[in-house]
Each structure stands twice: as C-alpha cells, then as structure tokens.
Amino acid sequence: MIEILFKSNPAFLFLFGALLIPFLKGHIKNLFAISIPVIAFFTVHHLDPGTIKTLSFLHYDLQILRVDKLSKVFGYIFTISSFAAFIYGFYQKKSLEFISILVYVGSAIGVVFVGDLFSLYMFWELMAVFSTFLILAKKTTSSMGAAKRYILVHIAGGLILLAGIILHISETGSIDFVHFTTQSLSTYLILTGFLINAAAIPFSSWLPDAYPEATVLGGVVLSAYTSKTAVYTLARGFAGWDILIGIGCAMAIYGVIYALLENNMRRLLAYSIVNQVGFMVCVVGIGTPLALSGAAAHAFCHIIYKSLLWMSAGSVIHQVGKTKFTELGGLYKTMPLTLLFCIIGALATSAPLTIGFISKTIIILAAEYEHLVIPWIMLEVASAGVFLLAGIKYPYFVFFNKDQGLRPKEAPKSMLLAMGFLSFLCIFLGCFPEYLYNILPNAELVKAKMSYTFSDIYIHHFSKVVTKMQMLMFSALVFFLFLPLLKRSNTISIDFDWFYRKGATLFYKTMDKLLNTLNTITTTAVNRNLLPSIYKIALSVPLVMLVMLNRVIFLFKKSSPNILVSEKNRIEMHLKAGSFPIGISAILTLVLFAILFIL
C-alpha cells in the first residue's frame, strides 16, 4: 500500500484521497484536501529522474511511473496549484467538488508521470469525466448544456486518440509513449486527440464555452490542467513538428481577438488561456531543447498567474454573483485586496519583475535562435495583446470603469490567502527565476542562454526591461485612447462551436423534416390507398367467383334472370356482412380444401 501511494505514480495519492473524502466532515475535510497536494509535492520532489516502474497487464508492460525532468516540472506545478486551489476553496463544503477535483488533478498528474499509451489513455479519460462534474456542480440550465457539450467534445477527442493509439500499437507493436517520428494516420490521430485537449484551432471553442460555466472553485481548477497536460503530451510526443508552429501562432492571435470582443469576464480569461497555450504549442513546434524548456517554464508560470486571475474573477462572482462587464464596475472601493492580487496576476502576464517576463523571454529567444521571424512577430503581437486584455481590460472593466453601485464585502480570508500565495510566487520567481530554471529540463542550457540572477536580469540587461516596458506602456496607451471603441455590449461571439451547436439543431431539423415527411407519405399510401384497395379486392374476388358459380348453377336450372340478380345481391350482402349460413361456409371450406388437396 505504502509502496503504491508514496513510491509510485503520485496520481494514486489523489485517487486514494478522493476515496476518503466522503467519510470526513467540516473543516477536517478541507484540511485533508489541502494536505494531499502537499504530500504529493514532496513525493514528486523525491522522485529520481530516470525511475521507471512497470506493471504487467495482458501482454504488455505498463509503465505506471516514468520520471524525468519534463514530467517533474509539471508534477511540481500541478501539486502547487491544486494546493492553492484547495486553500481558496476552504469555504466549500460539498464532497462532490472535492472528489472531482482530486480525481481530475490526480489523473492530470497521472498523465504526466506514465510512460505508456494505455495508462495515458486511462488517465486522459478520467480527467475528462471528472472535470465535467465541476461544470455540472453549478446546477444551472446553461451549465448543464455546457457540460453536455464539453463531455461530447472530450469523448470525441478521446475516441480519436484511442483510434490513433490502437493503430500505432498495431503498426509498431510498442505501447511506449515516446517522441513520434513517423508521420502516418496513427500519429496524426494521436496528435488530433492531444490538440483537442489543448484547445487548438479549430477545436478551441469547448474551452471558452465550458470553463466560464463551472463553479467558482471549479473554474480555478479547470483553468490549469486539461490544456497543460495536452502541452506536456505534445512536448513529449510531437516536439519539432512544424505544423504546431502555425497552429500555436493562430491560437495566440485568435485568443486575443475573441477576448477583445468578450463581455463575460471568465470567458475573456478562457480566451486568454487559448492565447497562452498557443505560445506553448508554437514553441513545442520549434522543438529545440531550449524551446521545450521554454514551453515547460511557460506552462509553469502560466498556471500560476492564470489561476490567480481566475481566483480574482471567482472572488468577484462569489461576492457579487455577476460575471458580465456590463454589470460590473467600481469594485475597487470595497474589494481592494482582490484588486491588488488581480493586478499582480494581470502584470504577471508579461511585466518585468514577474514570472511572465522570465518565461516569455525563453520562448521569444527560442524563436529567435531558429530565425523564425514571422512567428517571432506574431508572438510579440499576441504578447502585447494579452497584456491589453488580461492585463488592462479585465481589471479595468471589473474594478474601475463605471460605478454600478455594487458594494460587496471583501473576499473571504481563505480566498485572499490563496491569492496572496500565488501573488508571492508571481513576484518571487519573477525576481529569482533560478529556482524555476533549476527544475526545467535542460536546466544547464537555459542558464547558459538566459540571465538568471536578479542583478543580471534587471540591471545588466536593463535594455530588455526598457523595451518590454515600452511595449506594455504603449499597449496601455492604445487601450485608453480607444476605450470608446471597446465599450461592452450584451452580446456573444460566434465561435467554432457554432458548427456543432447550430449543426446539431440543423441536423435535428433536417431529420425531423425528412423522416416525418416519409412518415406522412407512407401513411397516405398505405392507409388511404393500399389497405382500401386490398379490402376491395378481398371483397370482389370471392363475389365474382361466387356469382360466376351461381350463374353456372342457374344455367343448369334454367332460372329466370330476375332470380339471378336477386341471388347476386344476396351473396353480396352476405359477403359484406361476413354472414354466410354455416352450411354454406362449411361447404365453401370443403371446396377450398378439395382444391388444395388436388393441387
């Protein structure tokens, strides 16, 4: 038991914790939940790179634990951010959310630490299922709809991944999850499966559709894991695939444009996740050792400041109950601490002295070394853009802008504590990035190329600070100069989800029309035409036969034509009423039998 929990995949710690949660009550439950990421953090810390543990299953050896520096970076940040999330969620009492979060985070850690495609797929699906409960837990009609679309997209993505994995195994005979070198149907299917979770274009719309519908705590948790595990899997399997550079750049720009149009604060933050994951996907596509370290570093930093921003948005929702920019404003008066942490998170997207500055620099440098001028410019543009929207637009519209007369209390202490913790990390690691660089893959290379002491970054390379500040200040200037153009309205923007939301309705309506028309036609044909004519035939054939038989008999008897007519009428009447005297019926039956016998 201890072997499995503490010396194997740290995911099992979370899964085990989830089993115990329902038996705990009150704050013990909260404290227990907080303790799990702490224990997991130290477990991750003590895992030696190079460790592999296998488990025999069917004819394969499943690598349930594979440790290297890349997986450890993600292990660290996943445990740190879930620790902060559980502190933030100290107000929460419901077991459902705790269990979902523990299984969700646990399986994200599981994905990061397994070494084969089977185990990866199992954890991948667990993540999809349990994250859905975080959206369902809000229990509104719109969240139910969003959860339905979310799980459908992820099931589709999971099936595509599964198809790819099965094809890959049948082609190569190996289930190891290592770098894919051949470009074939199987690897493209696996890539698509990963890209769906990374919210890459054109599979991006599920993220801004679903996350803003989650609960307050759910939103904070969701923002960190699904897309970042996808970045991890891309870095592991598809580093250096050129197609990712284009996809990443497109995501970065798409995120900015949609976020600018957005009126819902959590949707704005969701689009800025797509934008930032775009940076990571692009740099994974570059694929050099420095680039991969940049991707890991940026995932690490992005989780910290984006969780912080989601927490500040969550606090506002928790206190005010509103999410639209058109309904918010002037909150700086009563929520100054939330505002402070929000601004730290906002600045941490790229300002000097914060983590965004040190992680984006690696990415930009990696693009520079490969002389990728166009991606370099696009990333710079997107970087200015994300500061414009997550850094200025979001705090401005929520905390300043027009006072809407809202006077909520400051956020609960646990929320402030969690935000304070992440804010500290934002600034501390921004000033002393060496702690981060040391845990990155290729740490020596990163430290050789990047300055990593405070004096080196902010004094000896002051020119970089100056250029960055120029960029940020002019972005801010544009925002305030063009503020009238950015006025919010009560609208939503059509995204890629239009294709399946309207598409499903269109499909339903088409099928409705088609099948119902077919139904009507069939009813008319069978009920109105076919059945009456069968009835007529069934009636007239015996009549004709009987009348003819009658005529033959009367011909022998030489009766008068009048009797012939009256006999015909009598037969017709009996036929319609079905009331032949029993004797005649019996004779007719006998005749029929005789005919059958002869034939």
Binding site: G145, K148, R149, L152, I253, V256, I257, Y258, L260, L261, Y332, K333, E368, H371, V373, W376, E380, V381, A384, G385, L388, F400, D403, F462, S463, V466, T467, K468, M469, Q470, M471, L472, M473, F474, S475, A476, L477, V478, F479, F480, F482, L485, L486, S489, N490, T491, I492, S493, I494, D495, Y500, R501, K502, A504, T505, Y508
Partner: protein, 89 residues
C-alpha cells in the same frame, strides 16, 4: 463620510487627468531612457528591431491592429446572448 469621499478617488476629473499625464509620461520616459541603453537587434545588428522605439511602436500598432481586427470581425460574429437558447445541444 470621509471614507466615501476617499473612495470616489478614481472618479474625480482631476485624478483622471493626472492618470492620463502619468500614462503619457511613462511612455515618453521609457522612450527617452532607451537613448541611454545599449541595444542590439535580435536578428542581426541592422535588423528592424534594433531601431529606436521599435518596441513602443510594436506595442502600439499590434494592439491597434488587434482592436481594429476585432471590431471588423465582431460585425460579423456578434450575436444576441439568446442566440443559442433554443438549440438542442
């Protein structure tokens, strides 16, 4: 009463004016200070990013382009909030 007066800080016209001046001041300050730092282009010594004020212009125009693009695209894709309400998925 003094509390509520303090709280109106950001709505005063004088504050707004001051903040505008601070913003313009910072922009000019960081442009000015560039004159005194040594800087090299990332793609060779004479590449476009080595010119004076390149990053300020980049920040300004990239944001402007993003805003204009979003306004143009917004004309086509913005719909009412109830747009999807009657759909089945």
């Amino acid at each position: 009463m003094s509390q509520s007066l303090n709280n109106e800080f950001f709505e005063k016209e004088s504050t707004k004016k001051l903040l505008w001046r601070v913003l313009w001041g910072l922009c000019i300050f960081f442009l000015f200070i560039e004159l005194f730092v040594e800087r090299h282009g990332h793609f060779g010594d004479h590449s476009i990013d080595s010119y004076f004020g390149f990053y300020g212009l980049l920040g300004f125009f990239s944001c402007l382009i993003c805003i204009v693009l979003s306004l143009i695209i917004g004309r086509f894709i913005k719909v009412k909030e109830e747009y999807y309400d009657r759909d089945i998925v």
